[in-house]
Symmetry: C2
Subunit: 121 residues, 2 copies
Amino acid sequence: MTTQEVADKLVNLCSKGQFEEAMKALYSPGIVSVEAGAPPGQSRESKGIDAVRAKGEWWVANHDVHSVKVEGPLVAGSHFAVTFKLDITFKPEKRRFTMEEVALYKVADGQIVYEEFFYNM
Amino acid sequence: MTTQEVADKLVNLCSKGQFEEAMKALYSPGIVSVEAGAPPGQSRESKGIDAVRAKGEWWVANHDVHSVKVEGPLVAGSHFAVTFKLDITFKPEKRRFTMEEVALYKVADGQIVYEEFFYNM
């Protein structure tokens, strides 16, 4: 798949809330995932599909997604960007909030090998 | 200015090749600028408007811009992304090439305080 095809598929799946399916279909075993910030004592960076899948599973288990809006992609060479606008409830605290972020991806050999999320902490 | 207004102004100026005007109009004195890579012994990161302006002046002095296409912006909260597709000649080597990159920006108090460029080295 080209960068554009990977990007379009990611947008399509995430728009339907199918985050884990997107990961399964598109992520490289060597994926590196970087958050804007991390809890005290933890790393911003997750390396490898097992660590990134674990982060995703934690997220899905702990949030109710009321709506998700994905805009983009903007594609340039092997990189692309999208935005996520989420209306979610963090279940452990029953706290509902909206968040907006820019997500940046790098594609190699038809798979996502790097992702980084940009948002205010 | 809102993030959207800063982003629109950046796209407008850069689409006309007015990179230095964009910097003058929109960049914070404390701007941090991060490249995908750096020459040996140099940093990927430039800090402060003087260093970032010097980098920009070097770039403008050393490249002929045949065309520039700016796509976006995608805006989320205080961040936005655009893509640049450039057809340029590196003047010292008379070498003409195209490059594509995703640029990520952070806005605070109506000014760009952080930029990072994503492209293959």
